[in-house]
Chain length 399, copies 2
């Protein structure tokens, strides 16, 4: 069996953690100086273990194994959400490096911008030919509005090629990731073999009212875009529980009232709303409900609300043979301490699953915290899971 | 009777409109370069009509009549909300200048920051001794966070004295202002004699939950601060109509979810909420209701909500004799085309009313628009109202 160096794996992770360090987590938003430093640091680590390292025109870092196949592709993303955790993404990339260090025939990848600072999975989509130049032209940073083209230029990536993966080169894609929930922890489990990745359907709802002085305009006369947003979201909050599946989740992550001043009736509101499920029928039912609520608001409120589809991903089931290899290794290293489970979060693996067999392994998240600097996983769980993945990779390559 | 030069009045207003011009309105936030330019421009206008012009340590511009009394104080504020109207505030200041030009014994004042970029009525409060240095130390800009002290320094106001008004100098304070509503326009009226100014009670509600990944955290596990905000505001939306007075208004002008990203469950929400009424009992009833709703949320939701009082002003009735003078002049110039009415908006007059008789005159707002660059009033209505105010001022001084 391949001998994976768990100490070195943890040391690598802790070294990476220093780049963009923020409290106990990291702040490495896509294409920030810290993010680019981490990408170049990663290329050094890849070269150390004999891989041919390169970075492409969308920021994907690739480490190509020089020996003969069959090969595996292993990786995740290396940038972080703002002021977020040290493991999310970085863990899966460094798992790839650990497997390469152990001598396994793996290519290692860090997909650019899985965290969506500029777009939706632009790194993994670029690698499978699902990202047009025309889309790159239109994308801007969600937080500060910088155009993606400008960010690429400032990061020194302008004009670099965007090569496509050759799926024929790979037997499959493995991604290790933190669970980002408490399903494992609450049952005292140490590993999760992922059955599939839920789809995320994401919408921007814009409400146009009339900006007015909060003192001079009677309640009867108002066209308050913020109040419509509240009534709309309260209605969705009542309707969705009657229509959802057992593991559906829905989230309003942003409500922006314009101009956002205490004494001005908001003339415009922007709501970011999403829901996730493994079942396309459930997703379609929820979208119909959401659109009915919006339509109802347009009938009852003196504002105009419109729905814009931001993204609709597809559910991505994991490969059965790869799941079986992970399950066998998990039983060997942590018998009775692991489970099969779906992934509620989107991952690059969902795009890799479109062109090759793909599978994921989850580590427990302490207190379920993620996308926050306090995110963490016990070191012994990190070490356990890299052993599981190494054994599973080797067995799957042999099988 | 005093002969007011209405053409000159309109010319002055249109000249001022060019400072910080934004579409058909202006952008002159407090202590911005445009705001300071307008203050210095105003001091020139004051000197032109024989007033002794000065600016004080909080930015109030004062034009002191050099002749004998009895005097009136006339004015309003000159800064604007962001991208807002050309008349709001500026109208009342230039009305003062017009009366001074007509030879009336008036002091003219432009109170600093009535629009609340940094605080609540800091200009008028400073003039009546209700603004401590310690409060100035703590205030910051609502939109970009700059400390007030720094803004004063950059505006060249640091270290200037903050003199108090001598109320004994004045028979009363007149303020002309746009209505900021449609009460006049919808009844084809051209002037409003204000009976009193409503009180504004303003609160910041902070909701603390737990920031988490929107995919990995089940609905049952979430501590979603944004969802609590929606439920809270929806509940207030149901309760307030059963408790309010006939002209009460309430407004949520801002809902800020932290971090505000589409795939992150908001860990914190901040809600700015206010209500206005002329009747203190109604205000107290609404505050009790709001606090009950917050308490209910703390009982039913897995988040912690707290209420912070931002400001609680007092209702300010207008002086009967000054109202009578305005009413008589309005009848002379626009018989059957004016009404008595309360002011739903707060104005500097409410603080002047604490130390001397005070009154206000409203001009119609086209389509009721205010705090928006499209705000406007017909020129013939502006001219009519300056005639009403000049006659009223003269009669009240004589009376």
């Amino acid at each position: 069996m391949a001998q994976v160096d768990t100490d070195r794996f943890l040391r690598d992770l802790n070294e990476l953690r220093k780049i963009g360090e923020y409290k106990t987590g990291v702040h490495r938003p896509t294409f920030s100086p810290e993010d680019m430093e981490s990408r170049h640091w990663l290329m050094e680590r890849m070269r150390e273990c004999g891989l041919e390292a390169s970075i492409d025109g969308i920021g994907n870092v690739f480490g190509r194994h020089k020996g003969p196949g069959p090969h595996l592709l292993v990786g995740s993303h290396i940038e972080s959400q703002n002021q977020a955790g040290w493991l999310d993404g970085a863990l899966g990339v460094m798992a790839g490096v650990a497997l390469a260090r152990a001598g396994l025939p793996v290519d290692v990848v860090a997909f650019a911008d899985e965290e969506g600072h500029y777009g939706s999975f632009i790194g993994s989509r670029s690698l499978i030919g699902l990202l047009e130049d025309s889309e790159i032209d239109t994308l801007t940073n969600r937080y500060h509005g910088k155009p993606l083209r400008q960010a690429l230029k400032e990061a020194g990536l302008e004009g670099l090629p965007r090569p496509r993966l050759d799926p024929a080169r790979y037997k499959g894609f493995f991604e290790m990731h933190i669970e980002q929930g408490t399903q494992l922890e609450s049952q005292n489990l140490r590993a999760g073999v992922v059955t599939g990745i839920v789809a995320i359907w994401q919408f921007r709802i814009v409400i146009e009212g009339m900006q007015d002085h909060a003192g001079g305009t009677t309640m009867a006369e108002r066209k308050d875009a913020g109040l419509t947003a509240v009534r709309m979201l309260a209605r969705i909050d009542r309707e969705f529980p009657m229509l959802c599946g057992p593991r559906t989740v829905w989230t309003c992550g942003r409500i922006a009232l314009d101009p956002g001043a205490p004494s001005i009736i908001p003339g415009r509101a922007e709501v970011l709303f999403q829901f996730r499920d493994i079942d396309t029928e459930v997703l379609e039912r929820l979208e119909r409900c959401m659109r009915s609520v919006v339509q109802e608001m347009n009938r009852t409120e003196r504002t105009v609300s419109t729905v814009e589809v931001m993204s609709r991903s597809k559910p991505a089931p994991c490969d059965p043979a790869m799941q079986a290899a992970l399950a066998e290794a998990a039983t060997k290293h942590a018998n009775g301490q692991w489970q099969h489970m779906p992934s509620g979060a989107g991952h690059d693996a969902q795009y890799m699953a479109r062109v090759m067999p793909a599978a994921m392994l989850f580590t427990p998240s302490i207190n379920g915290i993620s996308h926050h600097w306090a995110e963490d996983t016990k070191e012994e769980d990190l070490a356990l899971n890299i052993r599981i993945m190494a054994d599973a990779a080797e067995a799957f390559l042999r099988g």
